[in-house]
Amino acid sequence: MESGRIVITGIGLTAPNGNSPAEFRENLLAGRPRIGTLDMRYIGPVPAGICDFDALRYQTRKELRVGTRAGSIGVYCAREALADSGIDWARRDTSRVGVYLGITEHGNVETENEVYNISLYDYDTRFWSHHHNPRTVANNPAGEVTMNLKITGPHYTIGAACAAGNAGIIQGLQMLRLDEVDLAFVGGVSESIHTFGIFAGFKSQGALAHHDDPNKASRPFDLDRNGIVVSEGGCIYTLERVEDAVARGAHIYAEASGYHINSDAKDAVLPNFERQAECMSAAIKRAGLRPHDIHIINTHATATPQGDIQECLAIRKIFRDCGETYINNAKSFIGHSMGAAGALELAGNIPSFEDYLVHPTINLDKLDDQCYLPRLVINQPVRADRVDAILNNSFGMLGINSALVIKRFTG
């Protein structure tokens, strides 16, 4: 009889400040952000988190030309996760492998590029690329991973706005419990910095960050925060049933034990702390824990005035009496990596199970009183006495909330 316990056995990622879990973690602990400036079509210079992973490590130049940036990020992260997992790939039945990747959006980049391209030909649609449809179908990033790794099991993306990184992990966890697959590549990817529309949309909404120093533009909880830094990135985990992972002698990073997704059912863009609190509570309960058992909370906070306050209200409601719960934020280093955010930010905290260090949130010079949280880790890492469980928050537009609880693996 299988236990239904699901564990993380491999991690692959690319973030603006790191192309491996170790490099990412090192920069989070050292307080090193990496936000650049992009000269966006129609808009001009904007701060953005830009990844510099070696795309040619796992793909040919032709594959890069034909595919998408999100697909390439997915391939890089999946291959890195696979290498990290130690799985004997040549002997794997790939019909029992699934790929479930969260995306905030997909296809905007490619469509904008085509519209721009035909504008150079007086909008003559004979110049519209035949690559447009395979590039823009919503399963593209996950499909590119299956083609690269010759995976014949199921693949699809999960559209869940900025909650998508968690949603991808949750989907894979569920598919393993349903015995649909024996191994799941899960997480999220984002190519959003290559679409002007997302920048223009946030700007029109009054939610696009600006600062003379791009590295200081993403400043959650700070009184001078002025919006989101859009970033690209990706993070993919290999998930397995605990029995399978133990049997092959895998290194087990942690156990994915509790989760919840719910909806505000209220507003397209404004967050709702009550539903967020319910989401966190339900995830903790499903993990068989209570709030004081959570030792690190990765906040979703994106540095918008309203969003940060609402999440802090939700956290204060659930964790007001929890004396060992540290709280941090990775967007202050890397901006908002959209569909990748939940998965990527979790990877920044997983090493805490081994080193007990909690990375800070940075760029916090003047704390907004409405964002006060006890044990918010500000600008410098702290050493925790205990790290047995991490709560990973990711919320998104249309009122989607996700919370994931990861526990120390104890055998």
Binding site: T60, R61, R65, Y121, R126, F127, S129, H130
Partner: protein
């Protein structure tokens, strides 16, 4: 335009759309797909580049004319000369 010049144009286009291929020894009479990793989408790329760069249209029923370098040159050279006339 000579046929050799036309062949070079086709080779240059293939170099863009299949940048990993070694094009130093493409045999003119052998079908391109028998000696290079090219699929149907790549041939559509060749058609698109001819349209974009040179204003040359290749109707769908004539795609087979692009099967080899030699047949491409045979078919495209008069088109290039017509465009340049």
């Amino acid at each position: 335009m000579t046929k050799d010049a036309c062949k070079q144009i086709v080779i240059d286009i293939i170099a863009e759309i299949a940048p990993d291929e070694d094009l130093s020894d493409v045999k003119p009479d052998v079908p391109l797909r028998d000696q290079l990793e090219l699929d149907s989408m790549d041939f559509l790329d060749i058609v698109m580049e001819l349209r974009k760069k040179y204003g040359i249209e290749v109707p769908e029923e004539e795609y087979l004319q692009l099967a080899s370098l030699e047949s491409s040159a045979e078919y495209l050279t008069p088109k290039f000369n017509a465009v340049n006339a």
